[in-house]
Symmetry: D3
Subunit: 280 residues, 6 copies
């Protein structure tokens, strides 16, 4: 089940990711429902779109609780969770919800930033600390970070200590990650800024030097067969996008992820990018 | 003294006012320092620019405390305060600071929105409740609201109960306000959305049907002679602006305000829009 | 009942009005549901949003038939019709549908362009001929055109022959129109370019020299008490908008119209701009 | 004859007016060729478009000489000159060219800025000194400045000394100007920033507080019957425009001016906005 | 001979390609006329620019006939055809025109989308069916599709059946294509979306995961020596471009193609990007 | 020491680089101060920011003299120079200043354009002739040009004659350059358009087919250990940027360069991107 979490309350540079869920849905109209690589179509799986949560402005903890409650209700139904951010902090309550249903949960993160600070400008919960917090939920050694190219010296030291794949190229990293994951249930979080700002200008803290979209797709396809129980794409900021370039990239990521996840779970109904809601 | 408060933590629609102080300063380069109407120049007064405060993200109460402390230190020096928002909630700590120095303080608000809600989506402190909170500081009958064209039925009822000038045209409203204010110290807050979005597209909650820039300038000029001890311009959002149109409007408002206020207080040094920092 | 017709197949300058329905809904989040002038709220009426029609690309006649069928089903239920364009040609099938239910139908048009050509570049049905075609449905003397400031010499001659109010200022024109309309059922079409491009830059054929948003609102309010059975706002083009300025203007026009129309018809359910779908 | 001068070499704030001639021509496609107010069409006059001059970058004096030579060749043919800027300094060589053919030439300027500085940042020829230089050509008392709302104290003093109509509203100013001009040949220069930035955001030094487009059109129409031998529209900057709003305003100004001027001179061929080059 | 076909009547997502021919010409000013790789300059060949066709809006079949007639007149002169779209459907009449002159014509397509549907939303002629229609003209086995990464399952099955190079990387595909083409006359169509949206954001249906501009240039250069009789670049949409990035990419593609084609045909006069019309 | 030179007086296509220094500083807030590759932070070196020079408009030679004087004063203090352009011509006075202090100076240029013309449209000093002029200062064989992909035939012949590395890929070129440079003092100039316009759309003459940001960073890192005494990043144009994508790329280039240069010189104070001026 797909749900939007239009939250950007701790964004540190360019706010606006709250506009992402609507624009990603809008952009999905421009895509086909069929994935040539996976040779499967959104129309062949079932994906329900619950719309966006109504979150309060200026109250981080309450917003996180509402997101967790929504995700937990999805997990409790035994269906797959797809979350549209919002900023990266929305991943924390989503992981908490998935972890409650899958205690052995591992987290795979595609990101430019380590997001491993102990705190950020005095704040405990922030898009810059989110992976540290998530490590406190699932265990630091259950986080697999790919594509990281920005952080403090402390974050890099911390990240390297817990993950041998930190900072490797995506193809190598994802191969090693797969081996380490085995049969564990997995939550995958894609911070759109893992891709270079040239391809994804609509994001809150663009970090030059990232991968190409195709490299990210290949990394995602390489996860096929894993038991992915939760997925999100975060940090898409339509306010600073170039047209719909970043939104449509996110929409395609969601399409591929939904098909990947749906490949092992057929219980949902297709509405995202599907013929019944979109123009194609 | 001028200071920037790049805070947009409770914005409900389009975030980004945190970018305003830098862009307003940048836009000020395109203006003359001389005001033909007031027949006085920024170069003839002294206006120090303290730069921007460094505020935490995701912690509303701490950000407000930091703004209040900064404003209080300016008020305590006995100098005039000019604040660049940020969203409208920054006016609350600024008024608190001025009120501590001027217990008889009145507040004149130019705005499209009443901002008089008791709370907003469960939150006590918000850009939609800020004038209600300010009323709790200076007394509801010490607030003079001009240009209001949006709110809930409750806000309109509340506003009309306390202010006979509510919703009148700016020229009439400002004339009556002046009479009521007498010699009281005054804080003036300009929410840029009092102007029609056609002239000020760069704002967080644009409300069609507002005044022209010239009407606002005339209203400001009509305040000449009042003891204006604090002033702000808020809700400028460069992320959704058309070029620098809204930023330059805000810069001109600040120029006129600084000259108006400086006319009775010569203690500051000119740096905003002045020859020493800008290109003209 | 509200329905979107994302059609821009005969646009002659800047295409993109097909994106309007989604962006107008998105922008409605930034508005209150309460109209201070009408002293009534969207939450107090019932307005159902049927979403957007799925129209074919490159086949004008089929698209028009689909729009007419959708509008006719609404009219046949006896409920009020609110249509979100799309370009101005969508008004033709909507008027046809209303005319089938209300044979005495009159049409009030707010527009910069006369749209009265007999044909346009060889085409019979076009956004430049739409009012001529509508005149063939309801009778040329049942069209009341307000705000017209652009057309060919022939269109101006034609328009003046049939309408004494053509080209007058909105306030005068709407007053005379009301007198002439009496108790007749009315379809109101608002081409957003009646407003000056400064306030509504997001439109397909911007025509400098138009009215202010407030003048348009006053003209709409002056229609209170009429039996408005159909309403549309057309020619909003988000692809060339300045942020959401034009979309939010259209959303406010729809809000005022829905409340105006709903004032005499309470059968619908509020979802546009209402608390259940939008953030405020 | 229409010619473009894509020069912005002395622009002090936002450069880019060199892109204006092409974008004004492009925008003219969105307009009708018929002027309802003047009841005459571009198709009924003859207006040749010579295209754009190829000017060197970084050499002000040579660029000015090339513009003057081009304008002089047009004046020498006895035809009317219409110049598309570029920045305001292009008016200087155009006036020189017209003055050589019409020694009794007067200049009518619509502008936000006085442009009367003796020099600007050490430079003699600049868009901020252009009217001072023009005064040295035609005599300071042959300049009629309308709409001025920005300048230094010295410029305002200088302007008031020579022109009683300085700073009056456009309607009054243009009426007085007409009386003073009598039968003299006239050069009219329109700096697009005379209009408020809300309507003309695409300009190099936007100055809030200007007139509406309709006020400018009325002022231009009030010049009917004068012997206008040269005309320009300058300071349109497409790089910072909102879509094509400012370009289309300039195109409409050119259309009205061409019809106004052509009304007394029928020797040219219509290509600007005319059916043979544009889509309508 | 170069001609523009500003047609976007069947565009399914973001319309606006009609603006492309003018903006591509404008952008060509920013390029050199000399191609370092081909070691030849536009100034050394002769390329006439016929300007843009005036096409009706809302009548697909008539627009296609006009484009075909224009292309046929160029082919009939025995000169090379370069077409600036517009959307991809403009390739159909251009291929028809070339096929009438060269019955053995083969078509090489660079594209993200297969465009092989039998029909699209009920329409026979559409930018989504154009290659299927072209296959009906030249034979399905005379189409060589490169870079395809989007389509329906049916399109992929159809494409693979007729073309072994379908979906291979550009370098491999173009090498095999060359071998298969031999001495046949060739029409080359470049849908700009073959390049990743990061490099070409200005397009109607951006498809993430495409090639880099340099890969496309290398593929084009690898066609040197072929008898290219027609060429187009389509689907450039300036309304959603980031500045002029996509337009300038298209202009460079046209420059390289013109030099490639001109290498075997010297009958035309250089005006596109050449010294006589552009600033450099 | 860092200083801004907001000069764009000879720009030939899209002007606006004068806005770059402020926007690059603004964008630096979005970056960390720590470089993972260099394993060193801006906070560990000392980098003073002198702000922007105030340069005259329309007087190229005077602007160049002012830039040279400012750079010379920095060189004379024995500190490293980092210059923020502005257009590429600002490199000429900077190199002159460095050459006066380091007579054995070599220049390494990353650029899409050779900039080797003898003159450009009659002008001796221009952004298109700047490297030819610099060759006259340091000797043509002391210039090392990398990434060049645009120029006239004459420029390519000239460039190849003096530099064997001309036109090679960055990795190879920078390796050979290092060997040739030995212990010589080096000035490095980065024209942002060496990167493909997809990653750096905000530039004056975008040239499709460039490198990725990561390739440029690798080339810069490969310069570690050289005695870099001067550095600039030029041709960033915020007026045509996609959000802040190009500004943030430039900011990261400056960060890496400052750390590289500071690695051998610790005399400066950190303010660019450092904690004391920016939000992080």
């Amino acid at each position: 089940m797909l749900v939007g979490a239009p939250f950007d309350g701790t964004t540190s540079f360019l706010p606006g990711t709250r506009m992402a869920p609507n624009r990603i849905r809008e952009a999905s109209v421009g895509l086909e429902t069929y994935s040539p690589f996976l040779d499967r179509s959104l129309e062949e799986i079932r994906l329900a779109d619950l719309g966006d949560l109504e979150l309060p402005f200026g109250n981080v903890s309450e917003a996180l609780e509402m997101i967790e409650a929504a995700c937990r209700s999805i997990v409790d139904r035994g269906t797959k969770l797809i979350l549209l951010g919002g900023e990266h902090l929305v991943t924390l309550p989503a992981v908490r919800a998935c972890h409650s249903g899958y205690p052995d949960l591992a987290v795979v993160q595609f990101d430019a930033h380590a997001d491993l600070r102990a705190d950020y400008m005095g704040e405990h919960d922030s898009h810059a600390t989110v992976m540290r917090r998530i490590g406190e939920v699932v265990g630091s050694d259950s986080i697999f970070q790919l594509g990281i190219r920005s952080g403090t010296r402390e974050e890099f030291a911390y990240g390297r200590a817990f993950s041998g794949i930190f900072q490797e190229d995506l193809a190598t990293g994802v191969r090693k990650t797969r081996e380490l994951l085995g049969e564990r249930p997995v939550y995958v979080t894609v911070d759109i800024d893992v891709v270079d700002p040239g391809f994804a200008p609509g994001t809150g803290t663009p970090e030059p030097g990232g991968c190409r979209p195709q490299e990210l797709f290949q990394a995602l396809w390489a996860l096929e067969g894993l038991n992915i129980v939760g997925f999100d794409v975060v940090e898409v900021n339509p306010l600073v996008d170039s047209g719909v370039v970043t939104s449509i990239l996110a929409a395609k990521i969601v399409r591929e992820a939904a098909i990947l996840m749906g490949a092992s779970d057929e219980e949902t109904r297709a509405t995202f990018g599907g013929a019944e809601t979109f123009g194609r």
